[in-house]
């Protein structure tokens, strides 16, 4: 919360105004800061992480009872596609970091460029995933084929929806940044969207080795 030029008496008083923004806070003095962005997004992030965490563990324990089936089914996945998607998401997260750094220097247009790069990479992720889904559906593989595909399709589709949601958020932020709606002093919206996008990356970083690699 930022309170500037708060008059502690009343608006018409001639007494001195105190610029509270200039006073060092206990947090600033200790070098510790609040979570980036709106705190509400962090409630959402932790809730999403919990849901994905339960699904990851459920996958692992279901696999423990069907090791041969899971290993055989896992071989039908494209490790290359999964790896490219991981590289794409990590790079898009890096571009978002650069976008946040740009707005902290009041460079709105540069911020919009960095975020647009991240958005385009999100599009690349979506395209690769759609191709993967198409290949599976073309081979008559559905969620009811076996337990592995049930987890693979539900986990990756659930994550896919989060990528789409993150892209919508990024698009909204880009438009506002392009119009000069953020500044060094006011960029909570960008940090909020960035935190969500990094969460999408964070979850994929666990999902990728779990479903595509570990056997």
């Amino acid at each position: 919360m930022c309170l500037n030029n708060v008059n502690l008496n009343n608006e018409n008083s001639n007494s001195a105004n105190f610029n509270l923004a200039e006073l060092p806070t206990a947090q600033a003095m200790s070098g510790q800061q609040d979570l980036p962005g709106d705190f509400a997004i962090w409630i959402f992030i932790f809730a999403e992480m919990l849901v994905f965490g339960v699904l990851f563990v459920a996958y692992a324990f279901t696999r423990a009872h069907n090791v041969a089936l899971f290993n055989a089914s896992q071989l039908t996945l494209s490790l290359t596609s999964g790896t490219i998607n991981t590289l794409v998401l990590i790079t898009s997260s890096y571009l978002v970091v650069r976008g946040v750094a740009a707005i902290k220097q009041d460079l709105s247009k540069q911020c919009a460029y960095w975020l647009t790069g991240a958005l385009l990479l999100g599009g690349v992720f979506i395209c690769i995933k759609v191709l993967e889904f198409h290949a599976k559906f073309a081979a008559d593989i559905t969620m009811s084929t076996n337990a592995f595909y049930m987890f693979y399709l539900s986990l990756t589709f659930f994550h896919f929806m989060h990528v789409l949601m993150g892209m919508v958020i990024l698009a909204c932020i880009i438009i506002k940044a392009w119009r000069g709606g953020y500044s060094t002093q006011s960029h909570t919206g960008i940090e909020t969207g960035a935190s969500f996008w990094h969460m999408v990356d964070f979850l994929w970083i666990i999902l990728f080795p779990l479903v595509y690699v570990i056997r």
Partner: protein, 92 residues
């Protein structure tokens, strides 16, 4: 609003490159068809390093209160630990 001192561009770039390298390492392990307890533990270790790098440097939790970093680490220790346990059950 988060007013932490901006993380240097150079550090962010180094973290990004390390994340890419670790992803290639994961791919190489998968491509080589490696499996078993040690491979599983190595892959989980790589994943833990990557996830904590994302949390601390990309999400910028490194500049926040310790409790948030502990939560992110605890998340991976619990989820990763249970995944390891399940895989060990599968091996036996």
């Amino acid at each position: 609003m988060h007013n932490a001192r901006p993380q240097s561009t150079r550090l962010s770039t180094i973290i990004w490159l390390i994340l890419l390298a670790l992803t290639i390492a994961t791919f190489s392990i998968g491509e080589a068809g490696m499996s078993g307890k040690n491979t599983m533990l190595m892959l989980l270790a790589i994943t833990m390093i990557k996830s904590q790098m994302v949390a601390n440097y990309l999400m910028a939790l490194r500049q926040t209160k310790m409790i948030w970093r502990i939560i992110m680490l605890a998340y991976f220790v619990i989820v990763g630990g249970l995944i390891a346990l399940a895989y060990l059950m599968g091996l036996s």
